[in-house]
């Protein structure tokens, strides 16, 4: 293992070296860095041409400039070395601080998109695999292929128009005709019907119930002005937590008499979590990441403890599932708090909370939750845009991988020895299907990092994509190389992680 890593690191180093050289030469050759100055007729043109020639070392031949850049990068590797700048841009500013800022906002975007795409993609993928050749399966397949075929910036423009501008206008005075409420209800109902499946009769019942529930909820929410002051309330948090606790128990432990205690323990954990959250309400107003973390850890810890204590002979399993329930409570609580801060954010953004550009509202000066809600509302559109492709590929991969695994002999054996369907799917199929997915995520993450270039441009994020595009447009190699250094290192690193993860998860593989 250690030999493998060392060898891999050495090889990767030379690969990165070679690819940076290639990239540097390409960037330097891609145009004339003095273009805009040559175009300019204002006084001082010569002085500025001289200044830029000096800043970019244009008098040095390209290979020499690459060596100079390497030297700048090298200074970052020497501990306590001179100054680590990653070179200067064409205005003589160090690139490193620019990169540090850029990485922050890009990572926020990429991580949010990856996590969401992964969650949704895996769930959808599993469901399509279980409902292979159902209309749901075909529908999702089509949507996935559509996602692969959409130009990202084309979609982004549409998203801005319809999700941001029009939705904002709607939110100003949320109103819906009953006809459209019923229509939405029917669509949601139909979706549930095909997801849950079953015979025709069951599907009709599901359709009716889901339609009525959706339409009813919408009507109540609209009439109570919920869209102006949204909240779950502590009661809502409690109820949803209990439902979640039930679902997690049913999914991971099953509702057999043998695991009845798991269910009870989880319900108790959900209840206790809710009580904790209720008690903590006074502290919510001025929360920081520290107090939030403390509260979150506390809730999860209490849940796990309750799961352990009440779990009986299944206490290990019970504690694990209770942990999941605890996390659910924390997520719900956060959602609730974010929703509650909506009216303030709404007011501070001049009544148009969903942003089309930028990563935050300037001078918001809000509380912890307001600031975060603002961040979320800014993340919304770019995340959606980036998610599309990742979501599609995770869905397809999960489905393929799931089908593959369910066709394996050991799954057949598990069925043959009489295990129930839930155990076969969750324990034997799902877990093994995730193995190839783990490596895909690692590969994909580095890819998404590079692909965020387009999205950042459309949504006015000043992240690494901005560094890259403006750098390339201005033929200013150092910022481009900084972007590239990160993606290149991320690629080799994640490739390595993928291989290690694969070996770790799949005992058939040994690393040499």
């Amino acid at each position: 293992m250690r030999v493998f890593i060392v060898r891999r690191v050495v090889v990767s180093f030379f690969i990165v070296l070679a690819s940076t050289a290639l990239m540097y030469v390409l960037v330097a050759l891609s145009g004339n860095p003095l273009q805009d100055l040559l175009e300019n007729n204002s006084p001082g043109r010569e002085a500025r041409i001289a200044a830029r020639t000096q800043a970019l070392n244009l008098d040095v031949p390209i290979p020499g400039r690459y060596l100079l850049w390497l030297q700048d990068v090298g200074q970052c590797l020497v501990p306590g070395g001179a100054q680590c700048t990653l070179g200067l841009d064409r205005q003589n500013r160090a690139v490193l601080p620019q990169l540090e800022v850029a990485i922050g906002s890009t990572l926020r975007l990429v991580i949010a998109a990856t996590v969401l795409a992964l969650l949704l993609g895996v769930v959808t993928g599993v469901v399509t695999a279980l409902r292979q050749y159902s209309s749901f399966d075909y529908g999702v397949t089509f949507v996935a292929f559509l996602c692969f075929s959409l130009p990202v910036f084309w979609v982004s423009t549409l998203l801005k128009q319809y999700i941001a501008i029009d939705l904002n206008t709607w939110l100003r005075d949320p109103e819906m005709t009953y006809a459209s409420i019923v229509l939405i209800g029917l669509v949601v109902g139909a979706l549930w019907a095909v997801v849950i499946g079953g015979d025709r009769r069951r599907r009709l019942v599901v359709l009716a119930v889901a339609t009525l529930a959706t339409a009813g909820t919408l009507t109540v929410l609209l009439n109570s002005g919920w869209f102006q002051r949204p909240t779950f309330g502590i009661l809502g948090v409690g109820v949803v937590s209990l439902v979640a606790a039930f679902l997690w128990s049913a999914l991971f432990a099953g509702l057999r008499p043998r695991t009845r205690r798991v269910l009870y323990a989880n319900l108790a954990a959900a209840l206790a979590g809710t009580v904790l959250v209720a008690v903590a309400q006074p502290f919510m107003a001025d929360m920081s990441w520290l107090t939030f973390a403390v509260l979150a850890v506390l809730v999860v810890a209490v849940a796990v403890a309750i799961g352990w204590a009440l779990g009986g002979h299944t206490r290990r399993l019970s504690a694990q599932i209770a942990g999941v329930t605890g996390v659910t409570v924390v997520v719900l609580m956060s959602l609730d708090q974010l929703l509650r801060s909506y009216p303030t954010v709404y007011r501070k953004t001049g009544g148009r909370p969903i942003a089309t550009t930028g990563s935050e509202t300037p001078n918001l000066n809000g509380t912890f939750w307001e600031t975060n809600l603002d961040l979320v509302l800014h993340l919304l559109l770019p995340t959606l845009a980036i998610m599309l492709i990742s979501f599609a590929s995770y869905t397809r991969y999960t489905r393929a991988s799931m089908l593959d695994v369910m066709n394996q002999d050991y799954v057949r054996t598990a069925r043959a020895k009489g295990l129930n369907e839930r155990t076969v799917i969750v324990r034997h199929s799902f877990r093994n299907a995730l193995i190839p997915l783990a490596t895909l995520v690692a590969f994909d993450f580095a890819g998404v990092l590079g692909g965020a270039v387009v999205t950042e441009t459309v949504f006015g994020w000043s992240g690494m994509g901005r560094l890259f595009t403006t750098g390339l447009q201005q033929i200013d190699p150092n910022p481009v190389m900084a972007f590239f250094l990160i993606t290149a290192v991320a690629t080799v690193l994640f490739n390595m992680i993928a291989d290690i993860a694969y070996a770790f998860l799949d005992p058939r593989i040994r690393l040499r």
Partner: protein
């Protein structure tokens, strides 16, 4: 952008290149059907064709794509050959009705400018068709060049192993390290002027072969150990003959599927590059460039934004479905799986 094409729904495999993984282990999934294929080649070719023809989505994709290709090349002609659509995409004409599309679906009539007119009154149908041609050419070139390079490199690496493999695969790794969009942007910035779409297509092909090279190499690694290769070797067949006559036909499925998917990504890649301002340059045009030019027209003159977008989606979707159908036809394993 990733070297692994996420659309090929095979479970991802780890190659044993620098990782030094045990290749035989990870290729377990692949080996069985490949062996079957090689035994009964002729009948399996027919089966594959039959399976493909039965794949409804793929067939609709094929029909749509053929129609688009036919429309694009017959309408405004290609090169010296004139088309049936009389208007030149370069010639400005007086604006009629603010350049609104004259296309009518019911009763069907094309009118003077079915897709409307652009800023200076050029016929947008002709422009969109020209753009479609160009995008198709780019896609085709990228697919062709990328597949050729990727196949040769992957085949050589997988067959010869040793130093050849190390050198070739390290080279692949170097290119994989660079995000496709980034290297494509730089290449396009340089080549956009040189040779227009043809230059762009070929240059892009030269950087998009890496995924295929890895896949082909993986196939070769497992196939070269098979009995039929040993047999060929023992009767004194040359390496070239073994590679191209014996092993390559057995990997053709994988290659065709990868090539198809490479084409659909090429169309999107080109449009993304044009969006960033690094793609095809005027006066040459492409679908991506049309969208980018008229992105701000989405509000006032939506047709300028929608038509090229719809064509891109239609082409990419059709190609993707064809790829899916081909994959299912060549490797029908998943059809057997039933939960």
């Amino acid at each position: 952008m990733n070297d692994r094409d996420p659309r090929s729904t095979e479970a991802p495999r780890i190659e044993s290149d620098m990782a030094g993984l045990v290749a035989a282990d990870t290729d377990v999934l692949e080996a069985a059907p490949t062996a079957q294929r090689s035994v009964a080649a002729r009948s399996s070719a027919q089966t594959i064709l039959l399976r493909f023809l039965r794949h409804r989505a793929a067939m609709s994709g094929l029909v749509v794509l053929s129609l688009i290709v036919l429309l694009a090349f017959s309408s405004i002609g290609f090169g010296p050959v004139p088309g049936w659509w009389g208007l030149d995409f370069r010639v400005p004409m007086p604006l009629e009705d603010g350049g609104r599309p004259t296309l009518q679906l019911w009763p069907f009539s094309l009118g003077a400018h079915p897709f409307g007119q652009d800023n200076i009154g050029r016929d947008y149908f002709a422009l969109a068709m020209k753009g479609t041609q160009q995008s198709l050419i780019i896609a085709f070139l990228v697919g062709l060049v990328g597949t050729a390079v990727g196949t040769v490199i992957g085949a050589c690496a997988g067959y010869f192993r040793g130093t050849t493999e190390s050198v070739l695969m390290r080279m692949t790794d170097v290119i994989i390290t660079i995000p496709l969009l980034a290297v494509a942007a730089v290449i396009a910035q340089i080549s956009g002027g040189v040779g227009g779409v043809w230059g762009l297509g070929i240059f892009l092909g030269l950087v998009t072969w890496t995924g295929l090279a890895r896949i082909v190499r993986g196939e070769f690694l497992s196939l070269r150990e098979k009995e039929f290769v040993d047999a060929a070797r023992s009767v004194g067949a040359s390496s070239g003959r073994i590679i191209f006559r014996h092993i390559l036909p057995n990997t053709i499925g994988v290659i065709i599927v990868a090539a198809t998917l490479a084409m659909s990504s090429a169309i999107l890649l080109e449009s993304a590059l044009s969006f960033l301002g690094f793609g095809v340059r005027p006066p040459a045009t492409s679908l991506g460039q049309l969208i980018n030019n008229y992105r701000s027209a989405m509000g006032p003159r939506p047709w300028l934004f929608w038509w090229p977008g719809l064509f891109i989606i239609a082409i990419a979707l059709a190609v993707n479905f064809i790829g899916d159908g081909l994959r299912d036809a060549f490797d029908p394993r998943q059809d057997r799986a039933k939960a």
